[in-house]
Amino acid sequence: MLITCPYCGPRDVIEFTYQGDGNRERPQPASQNLDAWNAYVYNRLNPAGDHNEIWQHSGGCRAHLRVVRNTLTHEVSSVAFARGDHKSAARHKAEGKP
C-alpha cells in the first residue's frame, strides 16, 4: 500500500503511522458531556469502503495527513495535510487558539 504524501510523494505504508479515525470530533478538554466523550472514545463508523483517517508520515517529513482509504481495497483516494484543514482550524478558532 502506497500513500502519496503531499510533500514527499508516493511512499510505502511502512513510513507512516496510523493516528486514528479521522471522523472523530474531540470534545472540548473541559467538556463534561459524557455522551460526547463516549462517542469520541468508542464509536466508530467501521465502513466497508472509503474511510477518513489521520496518518503521520513519521518516517519522512513527519507531517500529519488526512487520508481517505478504502477499507476493502486499500486504495488511497485522497491525501492532504491535516494542518490548517477546516475542521481543526474551526475548532482552534472556537477555542481562541492560533
Binding site: Y7, C8, R11, D12, G59, G60, C61, A63, R83
Partner: protein
C-alpha cells in the same frame, strides 16, 4: 565547541571501517564511502506563514538560494541546504559555528534554529553504483530527473531515519542519527560489497 569523536572509528574486528578497498574490488571500485564530518548541521523550521522569511534568512547567512518545491535544495560544496518537510530545512556547513550566524536573522517571530551538529553523522556515498546501492536501501526514486542535484529526501531504512541530499550526479550525503551511524555504515558496506567499494 566540544571536540567531536566520530562514531565510525575503526575497531580491530571491523575491517569495513578502515580506509582502503573492500568487497569485490578486483573488477573495479564502483562505490566510495566516506564520513564527511561537517562542522555544522542545523535544522530550521518556519512558523506557519513565515517560510519565505526563513528562506530569505538562509540565503542571507549561507549565500545559498533555495529553489521552489518540496525537497528542493542546493549546495556549493562547502555549504548545503535542502527542504526535508513543509517549512523545514536542513542547513550544513563545513565550518563549525553556523548557528551563531542565524542569531538575529531567523528571529523568534520567523521560526526556530536547532543545532544538530553533534546529533547527526554525515555519510557520503559516491561513484557509478551509488544510486544502485541506495535503491536497495530506500524505496524512493533515485534517478536524476526525479531526484535532482541539491534536492533532499526524508525517508528511512529499517526504522533508521535518514535525510539524503544529492550533492552530485553520482554522489549523495546521508544524515543519520549519530547512534545509528555505525550499524548503518556497516549495512552500506555490505550492500556495496558486490560492486567493490573504497572507504576514504
Amino acid at each position: 565547541m566540544v571536540e567531536r569523536q566520530s562514531p565510525l572509528e575503526p575497531a580491530p574486528l571491523e575491517p569495513e571501517l578502515r580506509t582502503g578497498s573492500h568487497g569485490d574490488f578486483e573488477h573495479g571500485i564502483d562505490v566510495i564511502l566516506s564520513e564527511i564530518k561537517p562542522g555544522s548541521i542545523l535544522q530550521l523550521a518556519a512558523w506557519p506563514g513565515q517560510e519565505k522569511e526563513l528562506i530569505a534568512g538562509i540565503r542571507t547567512v549561507t549565500g545559498l538560494a533555495l529553489p521552489d518545491g518540496a525537497g528542493a535544495g542546493s549546495t556549493d560544496g562547502v555549504r548545503s541546504v535542502f527542504g526535508f518537510a513543509p517549512g523545514k530545512f536542513t542547513v550544513v556547513d563545513e565550518a563549525e559555528g553556523l548557528v551563531s550566524g542565524f542569531a538575529g536573522v531567523v528571529t523568534p517571530a520567523i521560526g526556530t534554529v536547532t543545532d544538530l551538529s553533534h546529533g547527526r553523522t554525515a555519510i557520503r556515498i559516491a561513484g557509478p553504483k551509488a544510486e544502485w546501492v541506495l535503491a536497495k536501501f530506500f524505496a524512493i526514486d533515485f534517478a536524476l530527473p526525479a531526484f535532482p542535484v541539491g534536492a533532499g529526501r526524508s525517508t528511512m531504512h529499517h526504522d533508521v531515519f535518514a535525510q539524503i541530499q544529492r550533492t552530485g550526479a553520482d554522489q549523495f550525503d546521508i544524515y543519520v542519527f549519530r547512534s545509528f551511524a555505525r550499524s548503518f555504515w556497516k549495512a552500506l558496506c555490505h550492500a556495496s560489497e558486490e560492486v567493490g567499494y573504497e572507504v576514504q
